[in-house]
Symmetry: C2
Subunit: 307 residues, 2 copies
């Protein structure tokens, strides 16, 4: 099997359509798809201050690199990196070292905020007493800081490295747990309006699979190993991820099918739940947006971290 | 653990909410739920001629028994049983023997139509040359006959034994294969209008799990073993069924979650695809309703059975 475009030696077979591509053509395909997502969904407009949520992992590294590259001739676009140091020993400290070096080379300003400084305890310390699923508390605290800090950095958009696999997992989790309403907030650009205290989130890697993102990161020489958070195997997401990977192997196109189905019903969900932002209040403790009087993050701070 | 209602010895633990029930209370719970579905979704109206699609399996046997029981004091409701003999040796012949006996005892008229007589070949014979997934061709032929024969029997409704597991599987299959549009035709009562040549289909067991239906059939003494079609393990449905069963075991409530999510978005789907029946034509060969010039059934008859 040769590269479909130029007959060179292929480096990857695309999962969905059985097409093989060489390194050069794959990189072209990948970058074109990211640009198309940005254009089709109007992810980047004029005079934007884009804060890229980075972890030092493959997805956000590829995202930062490509947003920088794609907007390189745009003087009206500012790109800044934002990282959250949850405090996961042996994992996040390593990936953040990589990220500092990467941002340095890319000449991107990097802002790191830690659970330890923001909440007085690292995740490792929190998990000494918190016996629930780690991702439950960690996800709430991380999203809280991402929104709060990108607001402080005067972001007009918060870009995240979510790929097609991530989104297919979230859609399936919400469907299986009867949280369809939550899915109305998904899609390549998040629907929640700015003036309610949320920074709009954009996902330029939305239509690229995890395998494709990993391949791009590897072929561009960014990294050659991909570490997983030591806490994530415990999560419901990890279970759904394994299930979808198994189905994808047996029935190629499953993940793409999920995304296509979702894109088809997303406008219906957005319309049905469009008035839901009206019930967004300000948290009585931290003033951040919340559906309850006290936001989930402050709830965890009061009942878990300070306890 | 005693029965939640009467403290008798329990016979079943409901999957979704961990509640244990004794035989009497479970049967009450089950019948109440079927009645509620019939009422809530107006499955049975006045002066109905209900044809029940029966196979001799647990689901349709329970369905026939309960529709008969629930409408026993209704002189304006006629109940008839309709069975399709696909011709699957060692399986369907046995279940139809059981069904004849059951209908006899229940004093319900039973009409059996076979692939052999209708299409000149039994499924076993068809599968000697057809090398695709058996359920693909068999499903098309069976649904074709069910609709055609219930029309000939002047049915106002065609009742089928689909349970919560069946529906959760179909919803998931459609979602994963990007056939969302097909899901607009699901739900406790099928949305396709009568005068396009389709008999409206109703599913009174919609909110009961397969385990609950099997338990009811066993506890009522209808049968004590449940056979699976020898062809079904090859199907995509069987794969999705196993996947959902695994998830249900780890995360009880998964199947209910899928159904609840679906019931939430079903009105949106029905609205979006409401004009789709306008493209229903009459098959040029058999005159049955079809989205193409030639219906799928006639396509199989011409290209597989006659070939």
């Amino acid at each position: 099997m040769a590269c479909k475009n130029c007959l060179e030696k292929p480096v990857i077979k695309l999962q969905n359509n059985n097409v093989s591509l060489c390194k050069k053509c794959f990189i072209e395909y990948f970058e074109k798809k990211v640009k198309k997502t940005i254009t089709d969904y109007k992810l980047i407009r004029k005079n934007e201050n884009i804060v890229v949520a980075c972890s030092g992992g493959k997805d956000s590294t590829v995202l930062l690199y490509l947003i920088k590259k794609i907007t390189s001739n745009r003087r009206d676009i500012k790109i800044t990196a934002l990282a959250i140091d949850e405090g996961i020993h042996g994992y996040r400290n390593k990936s953040l070292e990589f990220l500092k070096d990467f941002c340095n080379k890319q000449e991107v300003e990097l802002n790191i905020y830690s659970y330890k400084e923001e909440f007085t305890k690292s995740l490792d310390e929190i998990l000494k007493t918190y016996k629930g699923i780690p991702c439950s508390i960690c996800g709430v605290l991380r999203r809280y800081l991402l929104n709060k800090k990108s607001k402080e950095l005067k972001a007009t958009k918060l870009a995240t490295g979510h790929n097609l696999d991530d989104e297919a997992q979230t859609i399936t989790m919400n469907y299986f747990k009867n949280n369809v309403k939550m899915s109305a907030r998904l899609g390549p650009i998040a629907g929640i309006i700015r003036d309610k205290g949320f920074i709009p989130r954009i996902k330029p890697l939305y239509f690229l699979t995890e395998k494709e993102v990993a391949s791009y990161a590897f072929l561009k020489g960014f990294m050659d190993k991909f570490n997983e958070c030591p806490n994530s195997p415990l999560s419901y997401r990890a279970q759904i991820r394994d299930t979808l990977n198994e189905l994808e192997n047996k029935y190629p196109g499953t993940k793409n099918g999920i995304i296509s189905s979702f894109i088809e019903i997303l406008p219906l969900l957005k319309e049905k739940y469009k008035n839901d932002h009206e019930v967004i209040k300000s948290c009585k403790i931290c003033d951040e947006p919340s559906s309850q009087d006290i936001c989930k993050s402050c709830y965890y701070i009061e009942t878990v971290i300070k306890a």
